[in-house]
Symmetry: D2
Subunit: 99 residues, 4 copies
């Protein structure tokens, strides 16, 4: 299994009403998937694994997408796990056995 130096999760709360939240969040998730990184969508956050640089770029872009999609503002909650020497535990290692 490929070893990644970084894994991160992001939740965006775009300041729009009701079902509009889903429309904006779906745009963010579509963008994250379009990066080609392994992606895991959960109820409160979407997780990726990859290189530190690529992930930090992606995290920044997620906020811009919320604004471009029509939200006047956004709150984001991010977790980053970074281990440049040994790599982080994979998404697969952490979730597969529980499903």
């Amino acid at each position: 299994m490929e070893q990644f130096e970084c894994s991160a999760a992001i939740q965006v709360l775009p300041a729009v009403e009701g079902e509009e939240v889903i429309r904006v969040v779906d745009e963010v998730i579509a963008y994250i998937k379009s990066t080609g990184m392994n992606t895991y969508v959960g109820p409160f956050e979407t997780t990726v694994e990859g290189s530190f640089d690529q992930i930090m770029d992606m995290l920044k872009e997620c906020q811009r997408i919320c604004i471009a999609a029509g939200a006047p503002s956004v709150m984001s909650y991010i977790k980053i796990s970074y281990n440049p020497g040994q790599g982080v535990w994979s998404i697969d290692k952490k979730v597969t056995k529980h499903h």
Copy 2:
């Protein structure tokens, strides 16, 4: 689909070394599943949906389980969504279409 008043996600970081983290986290996940609530295990957090009282009791117990499992201390990161009138969006609504 059943409507729940609350949904919450928890990540525990028990202060143990290496693969011991996985052993303790697995005990916490087993406990969460044993509550009978709908449970969704992700790479950085486990999400449930149910009644506010049951969820708050569960969140408290997760910490005790880490200590009982041998961790001298624990850091936890929790998100709670609570809507007693209309109910919260279900886990299923938020993730199924993305898989």
Copy 3:
């Protein structure tokens, strides 16, 4: 200096508009201070230190206060540090030298 077994921080996002957010958050902060625990108000979260049981009760009540103050729903973000044997680092130890 007194040693506490637990320290926690909470951010509440009541689903109300504009300056109403401040009114509801102020009610939550007033409640937290009324518990008598050491309290530290920051821009995104309020931190306390005390007993695990008292803190878990307080965290639960914060959500109810948002609803009672008029918010139909609330999202909360919580960090909990728990070390029943040796106690956690105090708020004072962590911030005073930086001010």
Copy 4:
């Protein structure tokens, strides 16, 4: 009072032992202050306000500093509030009246 488009808070958990955590976290806080942005140090996170680009660069650098300071890995928890049109509420507005 100056209006900023972005405010963010970061907590780093470098994977080092005991008081070493404080040494590494202090390096991160010293770096954040060195950016010249308004900075607010709390028990679990440090908050800044400024431009979105500057803040995102800073958040990335915090992780590198933990590794450069000797931690083999780091977990970070980040909150970002971004409002490019109207600006975000200032740190001062959110905390001063509570002190």
